[in-house]
Symmetry: C2
Amino acid sequence: MTKSGPYDGGMEWLEASTENCPVQRTLDVVGEKWTLLILRDAVNGVRRFDDFRRHIGLSEAVLSDRLRKLVAAGILKTVPYREPGSRSRNEYRLTRKGWDLWPVLMALSQWGQLHALGPEGPLLDLRHADCDAPVRVVVECCADHAALAPGDVTVRLGSGAHARS
Amino acid sequence: MTKSGPYDGGMEWLEASTENCPVQRTLDVVGEKWTLLILRDAVNGVRRFDDFRRHIGLSEAVLSDRLRKLVAAGILKTVPYREPGSRSRNEYRLTRKGWDLWPVLMALSQWGQLHALGPEGPLLDLRHADCDAPVRVVVECCADHAALAPGDVTVRLGSGAHARS
């Protein structure tokens, strides 16, 4: 990324407080491995407590805690269902806010496919439903939609930057 | 995402082992909050031990451990430097494999800007160096570069999928 000397106002990255860093704020909510694996399963259609527990290999206590936090954060919502002969239970569905984490999961998956996979290949094969071509995650310019490399991006401190105390 | 009933070969997502899930493999390497915050700082030009430590607010022990793991994983590399009058020390630079995590950090940042920021605004303002338009992370089709929503993507089990034991 391109940084032309000091940022606006003369403050440097190292002098800026990270209290309102959006990466940090996101990790405060979902920056825990089990939480991200629950979201991976949710994106792939898993909705029920026992399915999450068995598929991810989580204890009931940890899964309950992480689901509760994701519901409290508005990333999952509970929807009641009832199997014949059973009591009503809740299943967990992604909200719009939850689906907005899809690019995070796709970016994690892309790096894993590139750098951390064995010869057996990946678990999933994701394709554009319209044309069956593979999909990928890119950083692009909002104006002309060109895929960008880190060197194409200028970084300045933003409106919320303030000095570290 | 679109799943047309059972995946290839009749195996469902819930029946597939996640042992070779690329999301999981990536999180095995970088799926820890401090690790991702170290990478955030590295992407923003931080290279020296004391700068990471002060800016992120990490103990020396935790920082040493995380840097060592990132070097062992080939995500950071050490490059010696020497300040006048001091002994030679190492600084930490992202490798190509490390820069490939840039879309992960950008996706985390994008979600945080959308859903977790206060009124003061974000810490950084990232723009296309060529045209000064904001940048964004999208999932796109490799063939026609259209930005995709989850509903536009077909998910099948991949070549490496095998049943859970």
